[in-house]
């Protein structure tokens, strides 16, 4: 469905040298599957999602959607072909409200469905639909609204960039449940979740570990999860029983 072929993105460093922040990445995303992309901070996860969305242009390599090379298409054109991306840090808009944005995400959505989508992400529609997307919303609220937009878009490729970041634990479970329910085994769509979450990674179909712009590991979750589990879960958890502890 979505095929990345030898993608490279090179940037100029401050000191004038050049560096690949994505280096020779090839991935074949299949329909009906839920993918997790994980890896250390700065590994290139957001960069890869932005290249797929068309926000960044790769230095070399191709992107195919259903056999069509979409490398030269604008963000708008890719969006219209069904690629959707929930930003890691959603921008704020003074003067636009929550319902304006959801209506842009899905033109013609009816009031009932709009309210349902809000409830899905744990926001009471009566309290939030008219709220301004300016500085008055909390980070977690912005994040949920961002996820609601992508869920309503019904894209063929839906990418969520750290949906759990800044969202309380209770809601995270619910959100992840929703994404899994909506995309897993849906033959017409593919979902990609960029995440570090120990509850999300094992339930995805495939895990891709991106480190320094290179795919370090890739495969079915049951194979990959045991290999990375120890790096992600707190090693001291058993000892301190989840109390905060600092290693000196």
């Amino acid at each position: 469905m979505l095929k990345l072929k030898n993608l490279v993105m090179t940037v100029d460093n401050a000191n004038g040298s050049r560096r690949d922040i994505i280096h020779d990445v090839s991935i074949d995303f299949e329909p009906g599957k839920l993918y997790a992309i994980t890896g250390p901070n700065g590994g290139g996860k957001t960069t890869l999602a932005k290249i797929i969305m068309g926000i960044y242009q790769q230095s070399s390599g191709q992107i195919y959607l259903d056999e069509e090379d979409i490398s030269g298409l604008s963000v708008t054109e890719r969006a219209r072909r069904g690629i959707a991306y929930a930003f890691q840090q959603p921008p704020r808009f003074k003067g636009l409200n929550v319902s304006d944005l959801i209506k842009i995400a899905r033109p013609g959505i009816d009031g009932l469905e709009l309210r349902l989508k809000m409830r899905d992400v744990g926001l009471c529609p009566e309290d939030y639909l008219e709220r301004d997307l300016g500085p008055g919303l909390s980070g977690g609220e912005m994040k949920r609204i961002e996820i609601a937009q992508v869920l309503t878009r019904e894209g063929v490729i839906s990418m969520f960039d750290e949906p759990e970041a800044g969202v309380d634990l209770w809601t995270v479970q619910r959100l992840i449940g929703l994404i899994v329910q909506k995309y897993q085994n849906n033959p017409r769509s593919t979902a990609i979740i960029i995440t570090h979450h120990e509850n999300v990674l094992p339930i995805c179909d495939e895990i891709i570990v991106l480190e320094e712009g290179v795919i370090k590991l890739q495969g079915p979750a049951q194979e990959i999860w045991p290999l990375i589990k120890d790096d992600i879960q707190c090693k001291m958890k058993d000892q301190c029983r989840s109390e905060v502890c600092y290693e000196l």
Partner: protein, 307 residues
């Protein structure tokens, strides 16, 4: 009075009326009143100097709206008018003013409206003024409104002043005196295109104990237009005042924002925030990732910002 289509369109744009409303109204066209009507509680008539309008709202009048739109359609016409509005004690009403100019000629057309608004003890006023210009031809459409507002004890006013488009030159002066426990909120929204020039000069004198004043300005400067925004706020008692001006700058526009705070009492709390910047790239990208074109994204952002 029979209005032409052009007149009705102008009226609709500046005051949202599709037909002549019942109730208190004065429509001024090319310097002459063409519709004038009082209601049981609102007197609409000439002022004593006979150079404008007197609108007097009886104390306690509630939920009524007065329409006082002005249109200028005669090319090269220069209109000047002095209007006085007195909102009686305890009243709660809306005034819809506004001016639309249609000018297809090569001569300038202008309207200078000098308004005096007195909001008596405990009264509440919502005042809406929209400015709009249209027409082909090189003649300018010029609007220079001056508004003096006096808020007596416990009065409240919200004034929304909007310049929609097509006004080539404008100097807007607003001076307010706010009394004890009175509260004034001024909302200004402005968009300039082409080589338009707009200047707004707001002076709030917060004089009463426990009074408050607020100025919120949102503006967009496009093409080669220029804007100057001055807001001077003086606190002369135990009071609260806040000025907020936010501008989006595009193309080759120039925007100058000059907030000024003057405290003359140790219990005056005055604050201001001013920001000028272009549309954030992230905002455009976000909307484009939802399927809008770049132009649609810009329009959506500007429309929201000025709403």
């Amino acid at each position: 009075m029979n209005f032409k289509a052009i007149d009705m369109q102008l009226l609709n744009t500046i005051s949202d009326i599709k037909a002549i409303p019942s109730g208190a109204i004065n429509i001024r066209k090319d310097g002459k009143p063409v519709v004038r009507q009082s209601s049981a509680n609102i007197f609409v008539g000439p002022n004593s100097a006979n150079n404008g309008l007197l609108v007097e709202i009886k104390p306690g009048t509630r939920n009524e709206t007065v329409h006082v739109p002005v249109i200028v359609t005669q090319a090269g016409f220069h209109d000047k008018v002095y209007n006085t509005f007195i909102v009686g004690e305890g009243a709660d009403i809306t005034i819809i003013a506004g001016c639309g100019i249609h000018n297809d000629s090569h001569n300038d057309s202008s309207h200078d409206g000098i308004h005096e608004i007195i909001v008596k003890k405990g009264a509440r006023l919502k005042y809406v003024e929209k400015h709009y210009g249209e027409g082909s031809g090189g003649g300018k459409r010029i609007l220079n409104p001056t508004t003096n507002v006096i808020l007596e004890t416990g009065a409240m006013a919200e004034m929304e002043m909007v310049q929609i488009k097509g006004v080539d030159d404008t100097i807007r002066t607003t001076i307010a005196h706010i009394g004890d426990k009175a509260n004034l909120k001024i909302i200004e929204r402005l968009m300039t295109h082409g080589i338009q020039k707009a200047e707004s000069d707001i002076r709030l004198n917060i004089e009463g104990r426990g009074a408050s004043g607020q100025v919120i300005s949102r503006s967009v400067g496009r093409d080669d237009s220029s804007q100057i925004f001055k807001a001077a706020m003086a606190g002369r008692n135990e009071c609260v005042g806040h000025v907020e001006c936010d501008a989006i700058i595009m193309d080759r526009a120039k925007i100058q924002s000059i907030p000024e705070l003057i405290a003359e009492d140790a219990d005056a709390v005055l604050t201001h925030e001013a920001a000028i910047g272009k549309i954030a790239g992230e905002q455009l990208i976000k909307l484009m990732s939802l399927g809008l074109t770049e132009k649609e994204a810009i329009d959506t952002i500007l429309e929201g910002f000025l709403r």
